[in-house]
């Protein structure tokens, strides 16, 4: 909520603010993706390569 706005409206973003928000969003998305890949790789490393060889 915008401070002091009784109706709780958020002001429209300027072009520069929108651009900055987009770049922050992309950075967060990339960081989350890297984190997911990292946890996947660490899990495989901890379980050992044999985890991939199993009877279907």
């Amino acid at each position: 909520m915008t401070p002091g706005d009784p109706n709780g409206r958020v002001p429209a973003l300027t072009v520069a603010e929108a651009k900055r928000r987009r770049s922050r969003s992309i950075a967060i998305a990339v960081a989350l993706g890297v984190m997911a890949l990292l946890f996947y790789a660490v899990t495989i490393a901890k379980l050992g390569p044999g985890v991939l060889n199993r009877a279907i």
């Binding site: 958020v10 002001p11 603010e17 660490v42």
Partner: protein, 318 residues
């Protein structure tokens, strides 16, 4: 002091921002990337010198979490010190005093990264490494930034321990224990910290005085500071060579640490002797620059010896 109670000059002029003004680069700057690099580098050396039998993915992931934890410390330090950063020319352009990031954003960012990195390191490596990282972050933020920095001239002596912990955290991450090797690396960084920062403080004493930070030159005077710089350097030089005596520094390390130590000592003597005007400032700046090179060189040599196999034993030792 609650930084969030004090608006920055930009906020006073424009009113508190309703949306974040921070660019990605500003959030990166909050992490203090140069300090992160030093932490990661010394932690990596701490991992490598003990020759652990650990999966490289685990080692890499652990190093990454240590890096994130170091960055989180930097962000929390910038949140706390925003008021004094605004008063120092060296730090005025940081994201919070410059008004690009709100203090609350930096606090949330730092806390999220701190908690996340410690929890992740505990899962990836082991509880000891996670405890070590948590302790390092808490020591830097609470003990150094919130307590010592503004209250005592011994701030960077005691608080400098935070910068010396990473090698031990690195070893703990890959072995589950801490040994004498990384404890010696801790001591080297601990003894290096006062001459390094006091050389800077001699040059920037006006900046620190404006901010009200009790750095040694402002409290005890430049001459006493020069004497203490020399004293710590005299302690640092033999400690820097100690890895050779303990068997984990080879011939290359002996050369680098020996020559580097002598160079540090010569520079500290110049700082001690030159007390007035431009020659004094130049001597202090040279020591500051040399100290960075010295620490990088000895740790890089250890990395080369243990990580790249460039090991030649010292005759008569190992």
């Amino acid at each position: 002091m609650n930084v969030t109670d004090q608006a920055t000059p930009v906020q006073i002029a424009q009113g508190s921002p309703a949306v974040s003004n921070g660019e990605v680069s500003d959030f990166v700057a909050l992490l203090k990337p140069r300090v992160m690099f030093l932490v990661v580098f010394t932690a990596l050396v701490g991992m490598v010198v003990v020759h652990p039998a650990v999966h490289p993915v685990i080692a890499f992931a652990s190093l990454l979490m240590i890096a994130v934890g170091a960055g989180a410390s930097g962000a929390l330090n910038m949140w706390w010190d925003a008021d004094i950063d605004a008063r120092m020319t060296r730090t005025q352009k940081r994201p919070i005093p410059a008004g690009r990031i709100a203090p609350d954003e930096a606090l949330a960012f730092g806390l999220a990264l701190s908690v996340g990195s410690v929890l992740a390191l505990g899962l990836i490596a082991n509880p000891l490494a996670a405890f070590g990282l948590a302790f390092t972050i808490a020591f830097y933020v609470v003990v150094y930034s919130m307590w010592l920095k503004r209250s005592t001239a011994q701030n960077i002596v005691i608080g400098g321990a935070a910068g010396a912990f990473p090698p031990m955290v690195g070893e703990a991450a890959v072995t589950g224990a801490v040994g004498i090797e990384t404890f010696v690396l801790f001591l080297i960084i601990f003894l290096w910290t006062p001459p390094h920062f006091w050389a800077l403080a001699l040059v920037k004493s006006g900046d620190y005085a404006r901010a009200g930070i009790p750095m040694m030159p402002n409290v005890a005077g430049p001459d006493s500071t020069r004497c203490q710089i020399l004293t710590y350097t005299l302690l640092l030089v033999p400690c820097g060579v100690a890895p050779v005596a303990l068997g984990f520094g080879g011939l290359a390390y002996l050369a680098v640490s020996g020559l580097g130590g002598l160079a540090m000592l010569a520079s500290a003597i110049q700082v001690f002797r030159r007390r007035d005007g431009e020659p004094a400032a130049r001597a202090a700046q040279q020591l500051f620059g040399l100290s960075i090179l010295y620490l990088f060189a000895i740790f890089a040599t250890l990395l080369a010896e243990h990580g790249l196999g460039l090991w030649w034993p010292v005759p008569g030792i190992g």
